[in-house]
Structures are given as C-alpha cells and as structure tokens.
C-alpha cells in the first residue's frame, strides 16, 4: 500500500490530514487507540512544521503512507527549505519544567517518539524528510 497527500503549511488543514491518515489505516484491524496514536503522530509532526513556517509560505507538506507487510512507514516531507532538525540532539522536555515555565508547547515530539518505533529526520533532494516507522500487530478493534 502506498498513499500520499499534500497540504499547505496551515493548521486549518490538519483535520483533512487526520482524516486521510485515518482512512488509510482504518482497514488494518487496529484498535481505536492504536489508530488514534498513529493519526496523532502524523498530526504532531505536521503541526510542528506549520508552527515554524511563515503563514505566507506557498510550500506544501507531503505525506506518504507506505505499508510493507507489517511495517508501517510514514514519510513527511518538509519542502520549506529549512535546515535539518537534529533528532539525535533532541531532548524531550521534562513535564514539571514545562508546567513551571507556563509554556503551551513542547510535548509534540515527545508524543511522536513514544508512539513510533523509529523516528528519523534526514535530507533528500533539498527537502527535510521525517520518516516514522512502526511494526503493526493486528488487533481486534475495540
């Protein structure tokens, strides 16, 4: 299976993105919670990109969902031309420190890393690619 979608760098399109991911994966006999987690992981990466790109950008975020047997690969391509995010150097913020700072953000990537088996960020043809991977185990939908 290989499906793709592209959206503008605009948070108003996140609901369309979530519907796309849900429709792509809902036939895989996953539980509602697992399906929601996968939708959430894609939403979080794309939200993060949208937050850091000027609203006037005409670039688009490309999302491709690839299923190879039981391995789910989701590639999110950031075409904005920004420098590569250093995933290896990323340290998830401590919840208590976030609370004390009264900041509203900072939890998204922590969620993504908790949900997915593997998260890589690399450069390809001048774009930054986020590759999320998860081995899927069929579950009875609850």
């Amino acid at each position: 299976m290989r499906l793709n979608l592209n959206i503008p760098y605009d948070s108003r399109y996140l609901s369309d993105l979530r519907r796309f991911v849900w429709r792509a994966l809902h036939s895989l006999a996953l539980s509602e919670i697992t399906l929601n987690q996968l939708v959430l992981a894609v939403d979080e990466v794309c939200s993060n990109l949208i937050v850091h790109v000027p609203a006037a950008s005409t670039d688009r975020i490309w999302v491709e969902i690839i299923l190879k047997e039981d391995l789910l690969i989701i590639e999110i391509v950031d075409t904005s031309g920004r420098s590569a995010f250093d995933m290896k150097g990323y340290t998830p913020p401590r919840i208590q420190a976030l609370i004390r700072s009264r900041r509203k953000g900072g939890l998204g990537l922590r969620l993504v890393r908790s949900i997915m088996d593997k998260v890589d960020v690399f450069e390809r043809e001048g774009c930054r690619v986020w590759r999320l991977q998860k081995a899927l185990v069929s579950e009875k939908a609850s």
């Binding site: 996140l14 509602e32 929601n36 959430l40 939200s47 976030l98 939890l107 998204g108 908790s114 609850s142």
Partner: protein, 113 residues
C-alpha cells in the same frame, strides 16, 4: 471545535466539542482564560464530546497548572473517551491531574472542603 462555558453553582464547566488540535487550542485557551478572568476557583473540563486531542490541547491545560496552584484554583477533568485518555497516559500527564470517569465524581472532588 466549539467550547461551551457555563457556570453551575460555583463551578465553571468547560465542554470542548469535536477535535482539539493546534488550530483549535486557541479557543480552548480562551475559554479557560474567560473562567479565570471571572474569578473562577473551581473549574471542570468535561471531555464527553471531545473526539480527539493533540499535544496542543494538553499544552493548554499544563500551561495553566502553575497559576492554578498559586491561586488555589481547583481543576477537575471528566468523561474522557479511551482514545483521548490514552494521550494523557502516554505522557504520564494523567498522574498530575484530577481525572474522573463522570461529572458527578468530578463535582464531588470540586466540592470537597
């Protein structure tokens, strides 16, 4: 997403409906700010009609906790769908909040002396 804000006795009840994401979290934050501005000392967030939450929604709640503690504002959350509750559990945020299965249980906590 819509957020209704009502007052039941001395409890401010916030009911977000739909999907709480990066786009709609501003509305949710405004609802909490509205309750705070009116001098709320007890806030109940009822998630019964919430179908989805991202880190942006969680972030809004967490960003107010320090002030709630400082001002002795009691916060309760109730009626989360399992897939919504799971997002709190992934991050361990559920252990930091007063979360109840239904509104009656949440009201009991909020009305404790």
């Amino acid at each position: 997403m819509e957020v209704s804000v009502t007052k039941e006795g001395d409890i401010w009840v916030l009911c977000p409906k739909g999907e709480l994401d990066a786009a709609s979290s501003i509305l949710f934050d405004e609802a909490i700010e509205k309750a705070k501005a009116q001098g709320a000392q007890k806030i109940l967030i009822d998630f019964e009609e919430l179908n989805y939450i991202s880190s942006a929604g969680l972030g809004v709640i967490l960003s107010h906790l320090d002030e709630f503690e400082e001002k002795h504002i009691k916060l309760a959350i109730c009626s989360m769908k399992p897939k919504v509750a799971n997002v709190f559990e992934i991050l361990g945020v559920d252990r930091l909040l007063n979360i109840y299965g239904n509104r009656n249980e949440a009201n009991t906590y909020l009305n404790e002396a």
